[in-house]
């Protein structure tokens, strides 16, 4: 029979060996639920998708092995190829725009000296983050509406009626219009990360730069940007993965059209599975997306760590 004695200070006198064992195993115990969740809901479905991508699974009964037919069908489908080209355009546009505008907003906030004013603007910029995405897309549907939309009405008001466009109703503008949803992108996770990173910069470096007569532009270029590299790459990776997984604007605003102009891989996957009932082929799309996502993530990480000042 064992017992744990408590001394006067209330500290347990558990044998050191047991403490060592506990300190080694307890973290794993706490990690167990998370690991279980990851295995059940992430890894098993992922490996299952690899298997099903080689079958003609219809989500219910049919599940025969068909080799790489799903993959050859995919790469022979011009809609799928267009979806990847669109994804590259959409993601590039959005990544550049979000990084740029969020960074500018973060620098503007960072330059405010009054703590209370700075806090006010941070809150003002972050509050819209709680608005559900579907609501944002519906709001932008009204903004882009060719008949009653805000943009066309505004153009008309300032005498630029000739510039009015059916923004979502023609291939030349539809993808760009989707990429600019959320403009000016200040209410974003990117903004939060940049503000936090800037506020975390060592004050002595900033002050030294100021004392040395360094202009704001030089400071941003030579101090802020290099020191924010981790945050920038992190945001870029998130944006690339988001671009790869985007379906909401298609579901709400364009259905992938006009033509194939706003088709993206994730929406292609959704339609293949749920509209066409071709779950095997949808899994093949998922496998290709996973591969592309991994490649971009590895490249981004390599860029982040390549001769980084903050990593050994």
């Amino acid at each position: 029979m064992t017992s744990i004695a408590i001394d006067r200070a209330g500290v347990s006198s558990v044998p050191q060996s047991r403490l060592r064992i506990m300190s080694r195993w307890v973290p794993f115990l706490f990690l167990l639920p998370v690991a279980a969740e990851l295995i059940i809901f992430r890894y098993i479905p992922t490996f299952s998708a690899f298997y099903h991508s080689l079958t003609n699974w219809d989500g219910r009964k049919k599940d025969a092995f068909i080799g790489f037919k799903n993959f050859t069908d995919l790469f022979n489908d011009n809609v799928f190829r267009d979806a990847f080209v669109n994804m590259a355009k959409y993601t590039s546009l959005r990544t550049i725009a979000v990084l740029l505008f969020a960074f500018i907003a973060a620098e503007l906030i960072f330059s405010i000296r009054n703590e209370r004013v700075r806090m006010f603007w941070k809150i003002a910029f972050v509050i819209p983050l709680v608005v559900p995405r579907s609501v944002i897309y519906l709001m932008w549907a009204f903004i882009y509406d060719p008949q009653v939309g805000l943009i066309n009405e505004a153009l008309n008001l300032i005498g630029l009626g000739a510039w009015q466009q059916p923004w979502l109703g023609q291939s030349s503008t539809a993808l760009g219009a989707l990429a600019f949803i959320g403009f000016p992108f200040v209410s974003s996770l990117a903004f939060l990360i940049f503000v936090a990173s800037l506020e975390g910069l060592p004050r002595d470096i900033i002050e030294t730069a100021q004392l040395e007569g360094c202009s704001i532009w030089k400071r941003i270029w030579n101090v802020d940007l290099p020191m924010l590299r981790g945050g920038i790459v992190f945001v870029a990776v998130l944006l690339i993965l988001e671009g790869l997984q985007t379906t909401e604007p298609q579901l709400i605003l364009t259905r992938g059209g006009p033509g194939t102009s706003t088709e993206l891989p994730a929406y292609y996957l959704y339609r293949t599975a749920f509209d066409y009932g071709k779950f095997g082929q949808a899994c093949a799309v998922g496998v290709v997306m996973l591969g592309v996502g991994l490649i971009f993530t590895v490249i981004s990480m390599w860029l982040r760590y390549r001769s980084a000042y903050d990593v050994d």
Binding site: D58, G59, R60, K61, K62, V79, A141, Y144, D145, P146, Q147, V148, P166, W167, L168, G169, Q170, S171, A174, L251, I252, L253, T254, R255, G256, G257, P258, G259, T260, Y270, R271, A273, F274, D275, Y276, G277, K278, F279
Partner: protein, 483 residues
Amino acid sequence: MRLSILAKGLTMGLMGLTALTGAAYAQTTVKIYMGQLYAPDSDPRSKETMDAIIADYEKLHPDTKIEPVPWLGGDQSTYFAWLSTRYAAGDEPDIGWSHYYTRNAEADRWTALNEYLDGPNDYIPAGQPGHDKWNDEFFDNVKAQIRAPDGNWYQVNTNWVETGLFINNDLMKANGIDTNWASWTDFIKSCKNLKAKGIQPLGVFATPGWSTDQWLDTLLISAAFADQIPSWHLPAYENPFMKDRQLTPEEMAKATHDGKFSTTDPRFDTFLDLTKEVTDNCIVEGFAGITSLDQIMNLFFNDKVAMAWLGTWNAPTVRDTAKFSVTTTYFPPFTSQNSKYLTQPTIYRVGGPSSSGQFGISSGAADRGTLDASVDFLKFLTAPAQAQRIAAYDEGNLPVIKGVEPAEVAKGFSAISQLPERGITDAVSRYNGEQYGTPHNRLLQSFMLGEISRDEMKTQYQALLDKAVADQCEANSWDWCNK
């Protein structure tokens, strides 16, 4: 003695308890999804009526519990995504709503109802159609249209829809536009006049998914191939009730296989000409960026379009919302001036079984032991007594059960329902699957916008037709496929 009485009492009690428990275990639960016919949040009347119908049924069958799933909201793709997921999990409703063409394309998900339809429906009074043979209570033309390519019925239809042209009379009068069109050419002239006055004529939208342009598309393509369509009919699908019926997926596939429906046929050019004419002159600008009928109604209610092509199901909303005088009419007939392949001036109705009352039984119901109860409840639900109760609140649909009267607001569509049936159906069901309809819509959308040339359109479209036929032949092994 006392002990013996006690023992007997205990035994009786235990037996009673066992019987009760047994009865409880024997209770069958039938899960049903009725779409908008059971929408507690948005339409309390639907819940009130359906709950009352279910209560009446459960009173007759204490061993069966009917569990309605409330309407999911959103559009059809939300529902189909939900249904696919439920099927994958083996947890789909026993009785479910679906479009007849989607259901026929996914026949393995549903139970063939033929043997039940041939049997009696005891919920219909003796002497009335359907009492001896359940199938007799439904309209014959509807039954003909919902029959699957394999010859089975996977659903019963309690109602159907019509579509109509809703006209803003005040706007038309103020601009001196006469809407008593004698022909399609007159209609196009009115569109041109409206456009010249800066008014967008017609609220129709086009997307790669479902859209009202699909309706327009079927009118135009049916008019362009009018002289050929009857010769594509196959004996297996002929029925005395529908002379002017829509082609089935097999008939469509065979006509394509035989080169009768092809982009090299001059009729296809007529179809493209008609499409371009109506797009350039009538359809609202930005039509390819509009994704729902709600957006079209919004334009109509705000005087942004002079006319809107809507369905019977929109009629109650138009009645309750429009701040101007509205006339419900239909398009005038095409003449030989529009398509030289027409045998006589004709316009086709666009409507049909795609309505709120399309119910089938999951193929999983047999495995779950709920098939008999599901069939029985479906018989109860479709009996005229119940169908009339539903028709009273489901005003925008026309009942297709003998002896059931439509609501007042739907009666205006009766004349439209007498028009001939279009020969070629919506692109999503033309070749038995949305995987052919979506690319069709994409190509049409690009052509209408002038983003691809006619030749490019024809080349890509022919490739799509060939693929559809190859896939359908592989899936159905029709005997003509290898000839």
